[in-house]
Symmetry: C2
Subunit: 399 residues, 2 copies
């Protein structure tokens, strides 16, 4: 029997218990041993809960119990998660976490400690919820140079944009609806401003390049300024607007960004709607691949955490190599990253052409008093320079 | 340096050499050691080829060379691949293969030998080409009971159906075009009649249930009888026709089938077009997931083979557990599997209703002298019984 301790008995922590109970037999078969929850650490008590007698309030009990081989960190936030996880690893206990903030900030260090201790620090659930992406990157896509990784990594914003697209609604109205359904938090900033997706693409980019990518270095733009009119323009061009978290390997280095993009129907992420997430990967020999599924939610996320527990059980006292050193990767300056731009401007067509040369104008019957157009491919820097003389209402990148 | 031997210097064998050369540095880093091709077994010589001096014609040289730690089987077909692979494993050499026929027929036995020898027999490329699916099933989706696995597993048929859909062409014309582009073989039977997809779903089902599923037991129907008129009906209903290879866990056991199906836009496989493949998975805690990419082609397939080599290098003398015993899994009789059916009949609506009760009739302006309709959900058995009195022109299952 492998004894585990769960830190945090919230949505994910209780999901882990539920998954372990629901599929106990098949999990034991795959892990090669049964999995038993010995402790649940939480500030609260859970009177009447079947796990009531496992709940403790003092982390020392877990850290000092040599029987505990796996610590499941499901508290969220950087502290005290970081302190607890580091202490567990230093005590020779394997760790799995669903905590993107922790992994983005301290992943490299925690991976290094696990390696030294010849144990494992796994974090499949920290990106893409239930979608297997960390393990495939680490152990399936090993023959490739990953040249691009682009994801719809936040379910809340994808739900909002899908709803705006299908129902023609404004951002603020859909946000309210999403909050009432529990798809958006009371303070939705981390989701709608792209901060959540930013941490996730920082993790993916670190894994792809094998070095530390600081999320603070990634240019991040949310969806709160996307309007129903923008969606109308997108529809007129046969495009959809998605919040993408993307990183590309260029000759100069890695470019990463989180921002709303317009996508054509040919793009594999085009039809990823509602709360679903997906990660598109382009490898230099593999070509295009995509991984799709539930990016959040109690059971899908817990499914990924428990898969980590099974992997840990199969690799007790054997470190699974994860290439992510603490050496910092300097990203290419955002100004050098290239794309096409869709622009709405209060100027007239002549002014636009005088600044941008030949562009494709886009007409939407219901919208007047402005001009919409699509530029050719150019760098961010070049775009900023050209758009400087223009009264810009909106600009959205196009892939 | 890890020394490998490649059996067969055709498309995939030469692809493996190309991938190893292209990404040699990153592959060595991930494998923990460099990979060197020591022998290439082929009946032919390759004068002028950079690998010319590695080419040998006698398998004994490989089997008897203790330096060779990994054998890459890229010959295809059951024999002599089976004899060679078995002999390699018994000699303590790890094996990776892209050969679905071999894996479907002898997978359980070869996995058991590898386990006894504490080495590995891996076969990521045998299903879905470059798409990581075998390894994710085996090591990522381990917290779940997989309740359904449904794939577009054959690129040739998906190309043909996509082309028929987008251009309104007949099967025979598109097949000719596919042959001229090299997307279909001179004898296209294995692809268009579903035999290729059948072997692949047999492999996936064996992995999901942990027992031997014989491909001969899987009901298999190809796409050669799909017509431009069928596509018109599908379009009228907002559906697309795809060749699906599917297996489901029901209360009575596993049901598996290969057949053309009509899919709605809500289905994640709806927008998988051209030569792309994708595998949809439903887990009892994960929910829906999908894996998408290049299901064939030299480099994508070789990418998966080389990923197996890397995994083998990381697990030298340590068996990676794969649950697939030789104990036979009896599939549920096809007659008990359930779906809706789309039917075209030469009878009139009254006759249809007298046999099927309430149905949804489908009209296509250009088609007359027949009636198209959609049944409710029923078993295959029940459908056959009801359709017995009907002059059926076509029937296609609907999911």
């Amino acid at each position: 029997m492998i004894k585990i301790a769960i830190l945090g008995y919230g949505t994910i922590g209780s999901g882990v218990v539920e998954v372990l109970n629901t599929n106990s037999e098949s999990i034991a078969k795959r892990a090669g041993d049964g999995i038993e929850v010995k402790y649940i650490l939480d500030l609260r008590d859970f009177p009447g809960d079947p796990m009531e007698d496992k709940v403790i309030h003092d982390y020392d009990v877990i850290a000092n119990d040599p029987e505990v081989e796996v610590v499941v960190e499901a508290m969220g936030g950087v502290e005290p998660a970081y302190t607890f996880v580091k202490r567990a690893l230093l005590a020779g206990k394997n760790v799995t976490t669903s905590n993107k903030a922790l992994v983005a900030k301290h992943g490299a260090e925690l991976i290094a400690i696990a390696k030294e201790q010849n144990i494992n620090f796994l974090f499949e659930a920290s990106v893409g919820g239930g979608i297997p992406i960390i393990r495939p990157l680490n152990s399936s896509l090993t023959a490739d140079e990953i040249e691009e990784i682009t994801g719809i990594l936040n379910g809340t914003t994808n739900y909002i944009l899908s709803k705006m697209t299908f129902e023609g609604l404004e951002f603020a109205d859909v946000l309210k609806d999403a909050q009432s359904r529990g798809y958006a938090e009371a303070d939705p900033t981390a989701d709608v401003e792209g901060y959540d997706a930013c941490r996730k693409i920082a993790i993916l980019t670190s894994l792809v390049c094998g070095q530390q990518v600081d999320f603070e270095d990634i240019y991040t733009e949310g969806i709160s300024k996307i309007t129903a009119d923008d969606i109308k323009y997108a529809k007129a061009m046969g495009l959809v607007i998605k919040l993408l978290a993307t990183s590309r390997k260029t000759k100069e280095g890695y470019c990463a960004m989180v921002a709303p993009f317009m996508l054509s129907q040919q793009h594999p992420l085009y039809s990823v709607n509602d709360v679903f997430n997906a990660i598109f990967v382009h490898g230099n020999v593999l070509g295009d691949a995509m991984f799709y599924g539930s990016g959040a939610g109690k059971l899908p996320t817990a499914s990924a955490v428990v898969a980590d527990i099974v992997d840990i059980a199969k690799h007790l006292h054997k470190n699974i190599l994860i290439s992510w050193s603490s050496k910092k990767m300097d990203l290419v300056d955002k100004g050098r990253s290239e794309s096409r731009f869709f622009v709405r401007s209060a100027e007239d067509k002549e002014k636009v052409q005088s600044l941008f040369g030949e562009v494709e104008f886009v007409e939407v019957p219901q919208i007047s008093g402005e001009v919409g157009f699509l530029t050719g491919k150019m760098s961010e820097e070049e775009f900023e320079k050209k758009a400087d003389g223009l009264n810009v209402i909106q600009r959205i990148r196009v892939v």
